[in-house]
Symmetry: C2
Subunit: 191 residues, 2 copies
């Protein structure tokens, strides 16, 4: 689906805005095209934008002191991603975002989001619900991580992103689950 | 501070609403008083409300299959808490919330929050920012949990809730950090 239609359809699920209003809203988004492996945000960067994924798959991740990678989020079409802590608090990025596949995204600056939210109650409504969903997903992931049952976490991951199984290298799935590749192989074998 | 003034002051930090508007908004909140140890939400319950803490300290927690308790959040004055996944998705609670101390809270129903957000753009603005902050705190906690450095997690906790050190039994702090009481004792000793 064309980027503009995909975004319009996505917003329309939560908020009522007219075609004219949407044209205006859309004029604040900037389409960007990335190649597989390209980096969008690097830890330490200033963060000005958030990204709506049109096609492809991104990963938000960080590398700890022992050079071990943890994946915070996979971002697929219609998902939003950024380092929101850095974006809202105007601090440096503490995570990285790069492309697992070629990807098209729509970039919206922090200033433009705030401007649009102020101009249109319905846009503010949309972003409140978008953030609610992100908050709930994040709490669920935290609970899941604490509970530490790898098998359940693996099944939740496949339920959340059914496409992932074929799309993403297994070592990245292991990095999302916080387990070794060997542990993951045993789970695949029993699936 | 009186409950009404505390909430008005809290909302005024993010949104501009007149005294008359606030009186109307406040009329949708129900003050509730709990004793230490009382339960507000039990896993399996229907969840209709969220809670703004006026005084005291609550904990949101769950018990895993091995009967081990994990604390998802401590909620102190001006913090909001609920099982947001259950509240927004109209599913049964998967966590519990109870009172570490005697507590006063203001209860707002899901329906009333949505009504107020629809009636006042500024109320929608407030709740978008409130949720943003929750989302960012949740992501930060997830990163911190993944990174698995207990000493840093302990220091982050004390920076976030300086009052906690004296207020909360040590086994609850251990349950928040996801470590044993023995590990926590070593951290206290080195602090």
């Amino acid at each position: 689906m064309e980027a503009k239609l995909l975004l319009q359809d996505h917003i329309a699920k939560t908020a009522s805005i007219t075609d004219e209003q949407f044209d205006y809203v859309y004029s604040h988004f900037k389409p960007l095209f990335f190649k597989k492996g390209q980096t969008i945000i690097i830890s330490g960067d200033k963060v000005d934008c958030e990204y709506f994924v049109v096609s492809g798959c991104l990963k938000a991740f960080f590398i700890n002191d022992e050079i071990k990678m943890y994946i915070l989020q996979f971002a697929m079409p219609t998902w939003w991603t950024s380092d929101y802590s850095a974006l809202y608090n105007q601090t440096k990025a503490t995570i990285n975002i790069d492309c697992i596949t070629d990807a098209e995204v729509l970039c919206l600056s922090n200033d433009d989001r705030e401007k649009l939210c102020k101009e249109f109650h319905q846009v503010e409504h949309f972003f409140r619900w978008r953030t609610n969903k992100g908050y709930i997903a994040s709490q669920k992931r935290l609970l899941s991580f604490m509970n530490n049952n790898v098998k359940i976490r693996y099944e939740e991951l496949l339920a959340l992103y059914p496409q992932l199984y074929n799309l993403v290298p297994k070592h990245l799935i292991a990095a999302y689950l916080g387990v070794s590749r060997e542990t993951l192989s045993r789970l695949y074998a029993s699936h």
